[in-house]
């Protein structure tokens, strides 16, 4: 046996053995954490996979195959209009960054061969936050306003960060690479309106299939005894007693709210159009699906459809296992509102509860250094918010988190150098904190 090569495996086995030996099975906190993680996985499987994730994969697959990346990248090239470059860089993540691993090469390319440091920084900040899968999943699981705030916050602040980076380093000559940008070949062209209709019908299916009914009542309650953060649940009351309230929310999930945490309940004013759309949503979806199939059969070749299905399958294969693990871990560590996981709600609430500048700053810094595998930031944030994190800090973490991590800071450093990286990271932390504070004040 060769000890020099085998010691790592031995160490691993010893560590795993020690963990198993002292496994705290039977301790209440551990057992309930295990249950929580399974409950959360079931909740995701029931509520989020079929109607939300599956259509989202098809949309992401279509973007990757049918939208010409070359046509976007020419706005980020060396001869690009400077003003336009910032605008394009801040929104092009939707098209270019469908997979998070493509963000860094694009960043390096825009910096070295293309429009320069400003647009490159703007792209780096907004890219991971505004890819379609991230927005859809955030809106669905963390609430519509959080999804919109994430997208809008990322776009607006990416332009600010890009401009600041440009101003700070405007006198520096960048080390340009004199390489010809290698463009991907242009895809088969379809008239714009056909493409637009094709994407619109897919987005329509996603939106209408998930159209929730509005509730009768909105309950506002504290996250935990003595907590700093509050939640809203909209739905109808199914049970009311002295101990508390049981509400069936508009997605069909039950919430038990202890009386001592309940702050207030208010009637929800019904909007007739909204209710009507909810009633006929399946008819709308059916019409859209039929229209979509007609378009697919008439405008697309067999090969294109195969590519689209292939790329959709690629996303599903890549993202589902990560998400599954993310949900398990989030449930295990953080639990759900009202049910603790391994980490006490008290701690979470003390660190990132409420909407203080300190809580927002802490969330931004933690997010900046932490690594989130593609999309796992959503279940983790879901868990944290359930354990008492405020909405402001949650947005701050969503903005700083996927854009930065310790490993990708090292890559960024190898491209733009230590000093610029430090300035960029500080800007991201500051901007994420500011957007968190603003968001937390409004909602």
């Amino acid at each position: 046996m060769n000890w020099k090569t085998e010691w790592k495996k031995l160490l691993l086995i010893v560590v795993v053995f020690a963990v198993c030996f002292y496994l705290p099975v039977g301790k209440v906190r551990f057992d309930s954490a295990v249950t929580e993680s399974l409950v959360l996985v079931k909740e995701y499987a029931r509520q989020h996979v079929l109607l939300c994730l599956v259509p989202a994969f098809f949309i992401a697959g279509a973007i990757a195959v049918f939208i010409s990346q070359a046509s976007v990248m020419k706005y980020l090239g060396p001869g690009a209009n400077k003003v336009l470059a910032y605008g394009v860089a801040s929104v092009s993540g939707t098209i270019l960054a469908v997979c998070s691993c493509t963000v860094l090469p694009l960043f390096a390319g825009i910096y070295r061969m293309g429009a320069g440091l400003g647009p490159a920084s703007a792209f780096l900040y907004s890219g991971p936050a505004i890819n379609v899968l991230a927005i859809i999943l955030t809106a669905r699981i963390l609430g519509l306003e959080m999804g919109i705030a994430r997208a809008v916050g990322a776009v607006v602040f990416s332009i600010v960060i890009g401009l600041l980076m440009h101003l700070i380093y405007r006198r520096r000559q960048r080390e340009k690479v004199e390489a010809q940008m290698a463009m991907p070949e242009a895809q088969v062209r379809r008239p714009l309106w056909k493409n637009a209709l094709y994407f619109a019908s897919m987005v329509g299916i996603l939106v209408f299939a998930n159209w929730a009914r509005s509730g009768d009542i909105r309950a506002v309650f504290l996250c935990c005894p003595g907590g700093l953060s509050t939640y809203n649940v909209e739905g109808s009351i199914i049970q009311k007693s002295d101990d508390g309230l049981t509400i069936l929310d508009t997605y069909g999930k039950e919430h038990q709210i202890p009386a001592d945490l309940l702050i207030k309940t208010q009637q929800v004013r019904k909007n007739n159009l909204y209710e009507w759309i909810h009633r006929i949503r399946w008819i709308i979806v059916l019409i859209l699906v039929v229209g979509f199939l007609i378009m697919l059969l008439n405008w697309f070749t067999r090969k294109e459809i195969a590519q689209w299905v292939g790329s959709t399958w690629g996303f599903a294969k890549q993202i589902l296992p990560l998400l599954f693990a993310g949900v398990l871990i989030a449930g295990f560590l953080l639990g759900r509102p009202g049910c603790e996981g391994l980490i006490p709600t008290r701690w979470v609430n003390a660190a990132v509860g409420g909407n203080s500048v300190r809580a927002n700053l802490f969330a931004s810094i933690a997010g900046a250094f932490m690594y989130f595998a593609t999309l796992t930031e959503v279940p983790i944030l879901h868990g944290l918010m359930g354990a008492g994190m405020g909405k402001g800090p949650a947005l701050a973490l969503l903005l700083a988190g996927p854009a930065l991590s310790l490993p990708n800071m090292l890559v960024i450093r190898s491209v733009i150098g230590t000093q610029k990286t430090a300035v960029y990271v500080s800007l991201v932390v500051v901007m994420a904190t500011i957007s968190g504070v603003i968001f937390g004040t409004i909602f």
Binding site: Q69, M73, L96, C99, C101, T102, L104, P105, L106, A108, G109, I110, R112, M113, G114, V177, A179, Q180, M181, A182, M183, P184, E185, G314, Q318, V411, S414, V415
Partner: protein, 77 residues
């Protein structure tokens, strides 16, 4: 001897491209060497921004997608 270079920072798509390229080169019966380039600054020197990419003898042939091994066979053959 052909030098086949796979440019990519190590995402799942990059390893898929490497696998397809290897299959293609084998079935074409070529004498080849596969090199994986993972350093981002080296990738930039090829002018590539969308990974994964495939270069043959230093010339970029495919950018930002994973062709099947049959398609790669046509490119390198």
């Amino acid at each position: 001897m052909k030098k086949i270079q796979i440019l990519g920072t190590g995402c799942p798509k990059c390893s898929m491209l490497a696998k397809n390229a290897e299959e293609a080169a084998k079935s074409a019966g070529l004498e080849y060497k596969i090199e994986k380039i993972t350093d981002i600054n080296e990738i930039m020197k090829f002018g590539v921004m969308l990974t994964p990419a495939l270069a043959v003898d230093g010339k970029v042939k495919v950018v930002g997608k994973v062709p099947s091994s049959d398609e790669i066979k046509k490119i390198i053959g």
